[in-house]
C-alpha cells in the first residue's frame, strides 16, 4: 500500500495532473463570478442594440456562488470522470499492471492507494477553485458571505468524492478508459435524477447534497438535513470501492 501511495503521489507531482486538475477548478472558480457580474451587462447591451430595453436586477455574490456550483456540476464533475476514468483501466490496457501484478502486491492496495492519493489531490484542487471563486467574488462585488459559501462547499464535497469514487471503481473493473467514462456518465446521470424523485425520496439522495449547497447560499441549513444524503453518499462510496476492488481482484489482467 505504501509503495503504491508513494508512486501515486509521485505521479501527481510529475505529470500533467499537478496543474491540470487545480487549473480546471480554478477556471470554474474564477469564471463563475465573472459571468455573474458581466453577463447581465452584456445581455442588456446586446438587447439595447436590438431596440429592446431590459433592466436586470443588479447581480450579487449570491448569483456568483450559484453560478459556481452550477458550473461545478456541469463541468467539474464531467472533468473528474474524464480524468479518473483511466486511473486503473489505462494501466491495464497498456500492460503496466500485468508486469506489476506478478510481484507480491495486493490488488485492493492498488485501488485504495489511487483513491487516497488522487482523492486528496482532488480535494486540494477543489479548495483552490473555491478559494479562487470566493476571493474573486469579493473583489468584484465588494462583499461575499464566507460562512454561507463554506457550508455550501462542505455539502458539495462528498457528492464530488462520490462521482470520483464511482469513476475509479468502474475503472478498476473495466479495461478501457472510454468504456469506463461512458458507464460513469450513465451512473452520474442516474445518481443526479434521484434528486428529482420527490421530497420523500430525494432527501436520501447523494445528489440532494447539490441542492443543499444551493440552499445553503441563501439561508442557513441545519446539518441534520444533510445527515441522510451524507450517509447514503458515504455508503455508496464504500459500496462502489468494494465492488470495484472485488471485480479487479478476480480479473485476469
Amino acid at each position: 500500500m505504501i509503495a503504491f501511495l508513494k508512486k501515486e503521489f509521485k505521479e501527481i507531482f510529475k505529470t500533467y495532473r499537478l496543474w491540470v486538475i487545480p487549473l480546471i477548478f480554478l477556471l470554474i472558480g474564477l469564471s463563475s463570478p465573472a459571468s455573474a457580474k458581466f453577463l447581465p451587462d452584456l445581455l442588456e447591451g446586446q438587447l439595447k442594440a436590438e431596440g429592446v430595453v431590459l433592466k436586470l436586477p443588479e447581480p450579487s455574490d449570491f448569483e456568483a456562488f450559484v453560478q459556481y456550483f452550477k458550473n461545478l456540476t456541469q463541468l467539474g464533475l464531467i472533468a473528474i470522470i474524464l480524468l479518473s476514468a483511466g486511473l486503473v483501466s489505462d494501466e491495464k490496457a497498456k500492460g503496466i499492471l500485468a508486469q506489476v501484478l506478478t510481484k507480491p502486491v495486493s490488488r485492493p492496495a492498488i485501488v485504495l492507494a489511487k483513491w487516497l492519493a488522487q482523492g486528496s489531490w482532488l480535494i486540494l484542487s477543489f479548495i483552490v477553485g473555491a478559494l479562487g471563486c470566493y476571493l474573486y467574488t469579493l473583489a468584484l462585488f465588494d462583499k461575499a458571505s464566507a460562512s454561507r459559501f463554506l457550508y455550501a462547499n462542505l455539502f458539495y464535497l462528498p457528492y464530488l468524492l462520490l462521482i470520483f469514487s464511482l469513476s475509479l471503481a468502474i475503472s478498476a473493473a473495466m479495461r478501457s478508459q472510454m468504456a469506463t467514462a461512458l458507464i460513469a456518465f450513465v451512473g452520474f446521470f442516474l445518481i443526479s435524477i434521484t434528486a428529482t424523485l420527490g421530497q420523500n425520496y430525494a432527501r436520501y439522495s447523494p445528489a440532494y447534497l447539490a441542492n443543499l449547497s444551493h440552499k445553503a447560499l441563501s439561508k442557513s441549513v441545519s446539518f441534520s438535513e444533510a445527515t441522510w444524503p451524507i450517509a447514503t453518499t458515504t455508503s455508496l462510496i464504500a459500496i462502489f470501492l468494494i465492488v470495484g476492488i472485488w471485480v479487479f481482484s478476480r480479473q485476469e489482467v
Binding site: 505504501i2 509503495a3 508513494k6 508512486k7 509521485k10 505521479e11 510529475k14 505529470t15 497498456k94 500492460g95 503496466i96 500485468a98 508486469q99 506489476v100 501484478l101 506478478t102 510481484k103 507480491p104 502486491v105 485476469e252 489482467v253
Partner: protein
Amino acid sequence: MSAIEIQDLTKTFGTKIAVDQLSLAVPQGSVFGFLGPNGAGKTTTLRILTGLARPSAGQALIFGVDISKNLQEISRRIGYLPENPAFYGWMRAREYLNFCADLFNLSAEERNERINTLLDFVKLNDVDQQIQNYSRGMKQRLGLAQALINNSDILFLDEPTSALDPIGRKEVLDMIADLSKSKTIFFSTHILSDVERVCDRVAMLDKGRLVIESDLETLKNDYIEPVFTLEFDGSPDLFTKLLAGLIWVVDVQTHKQTIVVRTNDLGTAQRELPKLVARTSLPLRRLEVGELSLEDIFMKVLS
C-alpha cells in the same frame, strides 16, 4: 524437484482452447526454450505460470507449490518479462526499479546495491531520461532488470528478442546466457536460432498441445538427417540423373548450380557421393555435410 511442473494444464476462452492438456517439467537450473508458432498458446501458458491468468483445468507448480493456491509466496521467487514490457512513462529507470524494490520490501542497503548492479548489467546506468523516451531495446533491458529485482530463482521471458534489431537481440541473448549460470529460465520464443544459442532443453507447442519435449542434444540426434550440399561449375543435371532411384537418397533439391541431397544412410552417402561426382567429370566447387537446423526440425515436427 522440478523448478516448474505443469500437469494437464488447460485454458479455454469460450469455445477456443488456448492450452490443451499441457504437461511438462522444467528442471532446476535449465534454460528451457518454449517454442511454437504465433498463437500456439505460449503467452497464455506464461500468464498462467506467473499468476496473471487462471487455468480452466489442470495445475501448475513452482518448486512444488501450486500457483493458484499460493501466488504471494511464488511471486517472491519469480521474475517476469512480458513480450512488450510496459512502464510508467514519467519514471526514470532507477525510479522504476526503486518502486519494484518497494513491492518486495527490500532494505535500503540491499536495494541500492541491487539497483546499481542491475543498471550496470542492463547497461542503463548512464541513462537519465524518462522511460517514455526509451527505445524498444532499452525498454526490453529495463524489463529484464525489473524481473531480476528480487534476485528471482525462475525467470519467465516471453518472446524477449522478437521485436529487437540484431544488436538489441545479441545484447539480450548475452544477458540471458549470463543469467543461465544461476537461474532457471523459461523462455518462450518463435526464433529458433535464439533457442539454439541459449537453451539446453526445449518444448514445442502447436495449437495449445505439446508436440515434443526434449533436451536440445537428444532432439537433434533423434531428428538427425544428414544433408549434403554440392556446388558445381556448370549445370548439375547429369549428377541429378545419377542420384535417381538410389535407396539411400531421401530427397534431392536443385538450385541453379547447387544440389542439396538428403540421405538416410550417412556412411553410404559419404562413400558414394564423391564416386558419383568423379563419374560425371563435372568440376566440383564445394561439398559440404550439414545437419538439419532446429528450424528444419521444427517444421518437420509440426508437419
